[in-house]
Structures are given as structure tokens and as C-alpha cells.
Amino acid sequence: MIDQLFILFVILPVLTAVILFAIGPRSVWQQRASLAVVALLWAFSLYGLVHVLQTGIVVLRMGDWPAPYGIILVADVLSMTMVALTMTIALAVTLFSLPTVDRARQEHFYYPLFFILLMGVNGAFLTGDIFNLFVFFEVLLIASYALMALGSDADQLRETNIYVVLNLIASAVFLLGLAATYRIMGTLNMADLAVKMQAQAENPLLTVLAMVFLFVFGTKAAIFPLYFWLPGPYFPPPAGISAFFGGILTKVGVYAIFRTFTLLFRHDPSFTHELLLALSAATMLFGVLGAISQMDVKRILSYHIISQIGYMILGIGLFTPQALAGALFYIVHHVIVKSALFLISGAVQETTGTTSLKALGGLATRSWFLSALFLVAALSLAGLPPLSGFFSKFIILQAGMHEGRYGYVAIGLLGSFLTLFSMLKIWNGVFWGADRAPTRPAGLRPLLPGVVLLVSLTIGIGLFPSVLYRVVDAAAGQLTDPRVYIEAVLGPQTPGSGILPAERTSQ
């Protein structure tokens, strides 16, 4: 019975969106209902994560159709971790949006669109077949286009056009990949695909499929040659939206790479995962170099998203249980800290009217509390010891050392060092020195609850890393042994049907 309630992660956001849409944009209930529903879903997602950890994978069969034929939702530890993370960020963003979203945006359905976005994101994390992954991707993209263009000043429209065109190209290629997959494999259910792909691991077309999907998901996740679009669109929209986009949206792409390259494309890791490693190094390096050349808080943060996606891909490329756990740990840490930093930049923008380093300075004298929050989040992002960033980088780089990939470890450390540099640049430009920033009458206090929530999470993870590590370790365990996932979806498999646990464990 509890299992059936997992459908709420997808249904409740739509339901809320529709009701908010129908009651009209002026109602005070837009804000109250949004906060209530997000808080409810947040609590339920944490409960759901614990439930999945204790009782194993939850599979929902829509309309009671058996697995390879019907539509299914699968909640394993990875999916539920991502859903819980999404809802945490959604809560912080909603708390931040209540005082900052202006009347015009609210009247153009800001809150309903946000819930449609949530439905798409949760659905993408939970779906068990690759076509519905496409559908949920489109749902979240349509909502994100609208949220990005909302307010329609010239900058926003220009960047939204780029974002829409790029994503439409990726979607067309995604459909082509689905057509090819269905042609070759005769199924689109991920568990069923995993079985069939293991059975014909020799088929060279599998690598072609892997590359097509890597292109699609790589575009959404902004990995090395495909990241050029990212910094632009995240700059103009209001900070609440930037925080959710910067924290969660690119990570949907990373999640899709995680899912497909651990469950489906494990036939030839010496090519596919080696390629992921090379791409991850380039992503880490170019992202961080891009950040150094920027002089605006939001743009610096956007470039750092790119470099940090490199670390996650590094974890998948190494493809050992510890590396996967480390990459997941990194995702959790990164999403929390990055959203916190975006929200802080939003608070700076609300109170001063700008995020340019050249126009700001000396905010530490105005609010020591905001400065302290920034410092904690920034040092966590750079990976200083008592905070969550240290442990996440440590686990991945240690896994790299075990594998003897010293070059990649060196690039990771270099990236971390340069991150510290550009965080200090923001610190010096915005918070330190003489107070020369412009002032706006907006109060700072109502903006802080969401930021405090996220920053205390990064401190909490830093103090008790073993709690989170147990979760990501369980997730990595399920990822390295796809039999668990397959049997949960399709029922017990006959022994010797060719499904093997991870091949590339450390010697």
C-alpha cells in the first residue's frame, strides 16, 4: 500500500499545478499551497528514501500491466536519493521565491510552472523505461523554457532562444536513438534492455547506441564539447530559478548517464568508460578555466557547474563501486552547495541590484551572517576539510588512486585548487573591502531561511559523512550489480542468463 503512494511524486505536482492554474494567479493560495505541497513532498521523499533502503527496490506498474509491456516507475536507492535531493532544493527555492517572485511573474503562472518542472524532474528520476525518460525530459524542458522566459526582457529572450533550439536538437537525436534502440533490441524497458544487451554484448551497434545517448545526455548535462550553452541561460532569470536550474536540471542529464552507463552500456567499458574519463578531465579543466575569466558572481557559479560535472563523470568513468559511491556523494554535495551559492547571489542581487564583482564590495560590513553563509558554502565547494565537499572529492580521487589513474587525480586536484581561487575572488570582490555597493530597500532577513537550510545541510554532511555514505554506498551496490534492478522489475531470472556483476573491479 505504501508502495502505491510513490506515484505521488509525479501526480501531486501535476495536481497542484492544475489547481493553482485554475484558481487564478492573484490568489494568496498560490504561495501558501505551493509551500505546503513542497514541504509535504519533501517529508515524503525522505521517508521514501528510508523505505527503499530498508525494503529494497519499489516497482510501480501503471494499470497493472506486467513489466516489459506496461509503463513502470522504479524507485531504487539512486532514484530516491535524487528525488529527495530535488525536493530539498525545491523547498529551499520555494522559501526563497515567496518574498522575491514579483507580482508580474506570479500572474504569469510562476508557481504552476514550477510544479510542472518538479513533475518532470521526479518522473525522469523514477521512470523505468527509456521512452518515458524522453517524455519526462520534455515535460521538464517545456516548463524550464517558460520559467526562463518569464518576465521577457531582452537578455532572457535571447538566451531562452538558444536554450530552446539546442534542446530541440538534442530531443530529435534522442528520438532517433530511441528508434534505433527499438529497432535493434525490440524493447524500450530499461531492465528488459539490460537483459537483451547483455545477451548480445558482441553487437558493435551497441557502442553506436551508447554514443548517441551520450551525445543527448551529455548535451543536457553540459559535459566537455557540449557545455558551451550552459553559462548563458542561467544568468538572466531570477536567482530562485537559477538555483534550481543550476542545482538540479543539469544533474538530470548526469543521472541519465549514470543510469544508462551502469545498467545498459556495460558491454565494452574499455572504450565507453575510457571515453567518459577523457571527457571528464576536459570538462573539469575547461569549466574551471572558464570560471576564472569571469567577473560576475552568477557567471562564475555557472562555469563551476561545468567543472563539477566533470568530477561526477569521472566517478562513472572509473566504474568501481567506490567511484560510483563517490560520484553520487559528489552529486548530493554539489546540488546542495551550488543551489545555496546561487541563492546567496540572489540575496546579494535583491539587496544591491547587481551581481557584478566590479560594482560590489564590502558586504561583510552590512551582514556578517550572509557573508558567513557564503564563506561556508564556498569553502565546501572548493573542498576544504570539515565540509561535505572534502569528503566527496576525497572518495572519488581515492578511487582514482586505487585504479592507478594519477593523471585524472592530478587534474581533479588542480580543478579543486582553481575553484578555491575563484571562490576567494568572489569573496574579495563582494564581501571584503570597503563598502561601495549600491543599496536597495529590500530586506535581507526573509531571504535567508532557504539558504540556512542548505548551508546547515552541507555542514551536517561534513560532520556526519557516514550517514550519507551509507546511502550512496547502497546505491552504488545496486548500480554495480544490475541483477538487483532487473529482478525487481522483471521477476527472478534464470541463472546463467548472461548477466554479470561489475567486470572492472580493482585488481
Partner: protein, 135 residues
Amino acid sequence: MTSLVLSTATRFLLPLMLLFSLFLLLRGHNDPGGGFVGGLVAATGFVLYALAYGVEAAQRVLRVHPRVLIAIGLLCALGSGALACMSGQPFLTGLWSGYEIPVLGKVGTPLVFDVGVYVMVVGVTLLIIFSLAEE
């Protein structure tokens, strides 16, 4: 855009198209048709009316705002799915009443779902076209 032929024909065509859309909706379970196609046909009827008499007149004939139609349709569809959840079966499982009703045939949650799709398609299509026509 005032053509006597068009405006006179529309008066007869709109009810006919609505009737045909209902026919498509009801035969959809076992034959080609269904809520989606039916909804499109019904929406086309209102668009035709808007072409002949203007958007405002079509809005008046529709009586409710398309936004409300979207909400009602989605609630119908989700509600029919959730009904199965309440009896402990997976979401969207079809529940059947077991009685045969003349014209409608056997009634169950799939019909409610289809009606929801029908209403929502009418709402979405008209919302898009009306707001574009107003620009």
C-alpha cells in the same frame, strides 16, 4: 472576415461537429477514435466558430474559460487513475462497473479517463489558439 456562407454554415456545423466528436470519444475504446481525436474535432468546431464570428463570440459559446476545462479534464483523468489506488491496485488500473448501459456500453474508469482527455484537449487547443488569435 465576414462571409455569409461561412457564418450560416457554422451555425449548423458546430453542433454536428460536437456530436461527431462525442461519437469518436465513445467508440474509442475498441475502435479507432478516442478522447484525443474527439477533443481535437470538438476544438476544431469552436475554432471554426471563432473564424466566423470572432474569438469573443466563440468564448461566449464555450461559456467557461479554456483554463478551467484543462483543470477539469486533468482532474478527471487523474481521478480515474487514483480510484484504482484507493482500492489497493496500481495507479490507472481499469475498474469496471459490470453493468451495460445503452449507447455507452460497459462503463468503467477508462471511460472517465478518456472523457478527461477529451475535455483537456479541447481546453489546451482552444487556450493556445484563442490567445494567439488575440495578439
